[in-house]
C-alpha cells in the first residue's frame, strides 16, 4: 500500500474584512507523511487554524496546489466530493470540543460511522474500543453536559479516530483545558496516533507539548518560518 501523503504547494488564502482583503496564509508549501505527529505552532493570527481548515477541506484555497493522498483538492471540487473526502479521510478535534449536545457519548462517537452507514454491530464494536482507549468505558449513556471539559475532549478524540481516518486535525485541543487534562489529551493523541497509524496535525500555542522526535512547523504571519523537530524549534527560540 502506498504512503498517504499531504502535499501543499504554494497555497494561499485571504479573507475579506469589509473592503480589505487580509491574507491568512501566503504561499505555504509542506509535505506531511503518513503516521507523522506534527505540531503547528505560532501566535494568534499566524494562520494555524486557516492552514488546518484548508488541509481539512473545510475551506478552499485561493491559489496553489493541495493534494490529500491521491486526491487533488482544487477550488472547483464540489461540495459532495469534499464531504466524501472529509467523511472518509479526516478526523477533527476542536478547541471547544464541539460535541452534539442532544447525543450521548456513544452517539457522539459513532456519528461519523452512522453517516457512513457502517452496520450497527461494527459501529458498536468500534465505538467500544475507542471509548476504552480514551478511558471512558461506562460513560456511553452520558450527555456532554454531564462530562468535565477533559472528558468531553476525550470523547472528541474518540470521535476523531472512530472512522479510521488517515489524518486527524486538532485545532488547539488543549486551549480550554487545565495543564493536567491538556497533557492527558496530548498523550492520548500520541497513543492513538501510534496505534492507528494516523497522521496527526496539532495546532497549539504551547510548544512544551512536543517531544524531541516530533516535527514542529512554525507559522508567522501566514508563512512557514520554520519546519523542524521540537528540539531544533526550542533552539531557534
Amino acid at each position: 500500500m502506498s504512503e498517504f501523503v499531504i502535499s501543499a504547494k504554494e497555497i494561499s488564502k485571504s479573507y475579506r474584512m469589509g473592503k480589505v482583503s487580509v491574507p491568512a496564509i501566503r504561499n505555504v508549501s509542506i509535505t506531511i507523511s503518513q503516521g507523522e505527529f506534527v505540531g503547528l505552532v505560532g501566535v494568534s493570527g499566524s494562520g494555524k487554524t486557516t492552514l488546518l481548515n484548508l488541509i481539512g477541506t473545510l475551506d478552499k484555497v485561493d491559489s496553489g496546489f493541495l493534494k490529500i493522498g491521491d486526491i487533488t483538492v482544487v477550488r472547483k471540487c464540489n461540495d459532495n466530493e469534499l464531504t466524501f473526502l472529509r467523511r472518509n479521510t479526516f478526523g477533527f478535534i476542536f478547541q471547544n470540543f464541539n460535541l452534539v449536545p442532544i447525543l450521548n457519548v456513544f452517539e457522539n462517537v459513532s456519528y461519523p460511522l452512522w453517516r457512513s452507514r457502517i452496520p450497527e454491530k461494527t459501529r458498536r464494536e468500534r465505538v467500544r474500543t475507542l471509548l476504552e482507549l480514551v478511558g471512558l468505558s461506562g460513560f456511553e449513556k452520558r450527555f456532554p453536559n454531564e462530562l468535565s471539559g477533559g472528558q468531553q475532549q476525550r470523547v472528541a478524540v474518540a470521535r476523531a479516530f472512530v472512522n479510521n481516518p488517515k489524518i486527524v486535525l486538532a485545532d488547539e485541543p488543549t486551549a480550554n483545558l487545565d495543564t493536567q487534562n491538556g497533557n492527558a489529551v496530548i498523550d492520548l493523541l500520541r497513543k492513538v496516533n501510534e496505534l492507528e497509524n494516523a497522521t496527526v496535525l496539532l495546532s497549539t500555542h504551547n510548544t512544551s507539548l512536543f517531544s524531541e522526535e516530533d516535527r514542529v512547523i512554525t507559522l508567522t504571519d501566514g508563512t512557514i518560518s520554520s519546519d523542524t523537530s521540537s528540539r531544533q524549534h526550542q533552539r531557534c527560540l
Binding site: T83, F84, N98, I102
Partner: protein
C-alpha cells in the same frame, strides 16, 4: 438498510432536537394543533352542509335525474311550450317501472296563477305532482295533513301565504290560471295542510297540489318533467343508459338531465363553501407556515455551530437539509395528529351541545351545527400539514445547508 438504520438516520436527531427545545416546540405545536382543529371542524361542518344540501336537492327538488322535453329551460319552467304529452310520458314510464333501482317517480307540472278567497288574493307558484311521490318531496307540514293518492281537490300552502290570506286547514280557496290558449280557468280547492319552508319568499308563494288538480284547472293532461329518484346513486349511470336507449329507439323528443346539471343553486352554494374553506385553510396554514418558518430560523441560528460541526464530520448538505426539514415536517405532523385526536374527541361534544347559528337572510330557522369527520378530511389535514411543513422549512433549511463551515464553526 433496515428500519432501525432509517430511523437512526432520519428521525433520531430531529426528534431529539424537538425534545431539546421543548418550550419552543410546544408553542409551535400549539399553533399547528389550533390550526388543524379549526380547519377540521370547519371542513366537517361544510361536509355536513354539502351532504345535507345534496340530499335535500335530490330528495326534495330534482330527484337523481329528470326526463324533460328537448329545449326545456329552467328560465321559463312554467311555459306550456315544452311540455311532455301523456302518450310520451306513459311510454317512458312503462320502462322506468321495469327498473329495480328506481325508488319512486314523480310527474311534475308547474304553473302560475292567482289564489283567492272572498277577502284577499295572491299570486301563487304551483307545484303539481303525484301525491305518492310528493309526500317525500314536499316540505314539512306544521298543520293539517298531506293529500293522499285518492285526494280530492286539495292544496298545501305555506305558512306565510296562510297568514297573508288568513287561511286555515279546511278553508276553501279558488285558483285562477291561464290555460294554453290564454283563457282564464278557475277551480275551487280546499287547504289540506300548511307547510314550513326554508325561505319566506317560497312560503308566501309556493303551493303544492295533486297533478289532477293542475290538469283540471288547465284542461290538459301534459306534464313538465318526470322526476326519477333512485334507491342508490351508484345505479344512476345504468338507469340513464337504459332510458336514453329507449328514447333513441322510439324517437322521443325527450332528454335526460342529472341532478347535478339541474341543481345550479346547489352548485353555487357548494362552490361558495369550497371557496370559503380554501381561503380559510390558506390563511390558517399560512399562519402555521410563518410560525414554523420562524421556529426553524431560530433553530438554524441557535445551531449554526452544531451544523458546522456536523458538516465537518462528513454530513453532506443534503443530509443537513433532510435533518432540519424532517424536524419541521415532524413538528407539523405531530401537531396535526394531536389536532386530529382532539378534533375527534371534541366533535361528539359539539354535536351534543346542539349549537345553532343565526338564520340567514330570508329564513326563520336557526342553523344547527353538526360536524362529521371522515377519512378524506383526516387525509387532507395530514397532507396539508406535511406540505406546510415542507414549505415552512424550505428557506431556513436552504440557509443552513449553505452555511460556510468555517464561519459556522466560529459561532459561539
Amino acid at each position: 438498510m433496515n428500519i432501525s438504520d432509517l430511523y437512526n438516520l432520519y428521525l433520531t436527531m430531529p426528534l431529539k432536537n424537538i425534545w431539546r427545545n421543548r418550550r419552543r416546540s410546544f408553542i409551535t405545536l400549539a399553533s399547528v394543533i389550533a390550526g388543524t382543529v379549526t380547519i377540521m371542524l370547519f371542513f366537517g361542518y361544510i361536509k355536513v352542509m354539502e351532504v345535507g344540501l345534496k340530499d335535500e336537492a335530490i330528495r326534495k327538488e330534482y330527484g337523481h335525474f329528470q326526463i324533460l322535453r328537448k329545449g326545456y329551460s329552467d328560465d321559463d319552467e312554467t311555459s306550456y311550450k315544452y311540455m311532455i304529452a301523456k302518450e310520451d310520458y306513459m311510454k317512458i314510464s312503462s320502462v322506468i317501472d321495469t327498473l329495480s333501482s328506481v325508488d319512486f317517480i314523480n310527474y311534475r307540472h308547474l304553473l302560475v296563477g292567482m289564489i283567492g278567497t272572498s277577502e284577499a288574493s295572491a299570486i301563487f307558484m304551483g307545484v303539481a305532482g303525484n301525491p305518492g311521490a310528493e309526500i317525500f318531496m314536499s316540505p314539512e307540514l306544521i298543520s293539517g295533513a298531506f293529500y293522499g293518492e285518492d285526494a280530492g281537490d286539495q292544496i298545501i300552502i305555506g305558512r306565510h301565504m296562510a297568514g297573508k290570506l288568513n287561511l286555515e286547514v279546511g278553508n276553501e280557496v279558488v285558483l285562477f290560471a291561464s290555460n294554453e290558449d290564454g283563457a282564464q280557468d278557475a277551480i275551487s280547492v280546499n287547504v289540506s295542510g300548511i307547510y314550513r319552508g326554508m325561505l319566506k319568499a317560497v312560503e308566501s308563494m309556493q303551493i303544492y297540489m295533486p297533478l289532477h288538480v293542475a290538469h283540471s284547472l288547465l284542461g290538459h293532461d301534459k306534464i313538465h318533467r318526470i322526476i326519477v329518484c333512485l334507491k342508490n346513486e351508484k345505479d344512476m349511470e345504468s338507469a340513464i343508459k337504459t332510458l336514453n336507449a329507449f328514447i333513441k329507439d322510439n324517437n322521443l323528443d325527450l332528454e335526460i338531465r342529472t341532478w347535478s346539471e339541474l341543481a345550479v343553486f346547489y352548485r353555487q352554494i357548494i362552490a361558495m363553501f369550497k371557496g370559503i374553506t380554501f381561503v380559510l385553510g390558506l390563511v390558517i396554514f399560512s399562519i402555521i407556515m410563518f410560525n414554523i418558518s420562524n421556529t426553524m430560523y431560530m433553530v438554524v441560528n441557535d445551531r449554526t455551530k452544531e451544523i458546522g460541526t456536523l458538516r465537518a464530520l462528513g454530513s453532506s448538505r443534503f443530509q443537513v437539509k433532510s435533518q432540519l426539514m424532517t424536524e419541521g415536517v415532524l413538528l407539523c405532523l405531530i401537531g396535526c395528529i394531536i389536532g386530529i385526536v382532539i378534533t375527534l374527541l371534541i366533535r361528539p361534544l359539539i354535536n351534543e351541545m346542539q349549537i345553532t347559528l343565526p338564520p340567514p337572510p330570508g329564513q326563520d330557522d336557526r342553523i344547527p351545527i353538526h360536524i362529521v369527520i371522515d377519512h378524506t378530511i383526516i387525509w387532507i389535514s395530514v397532507v396539508a400539514s406535511s406540505v406546510t411543513g415542507i414549505f415552512a422549512t424550505f428557506l431556513p433549511v436552504q440557509r443552513a445547508s449553505k452555511l460556510n463551515i468555517v464561519d459556522a464553526l466560529r459561532q459561539f
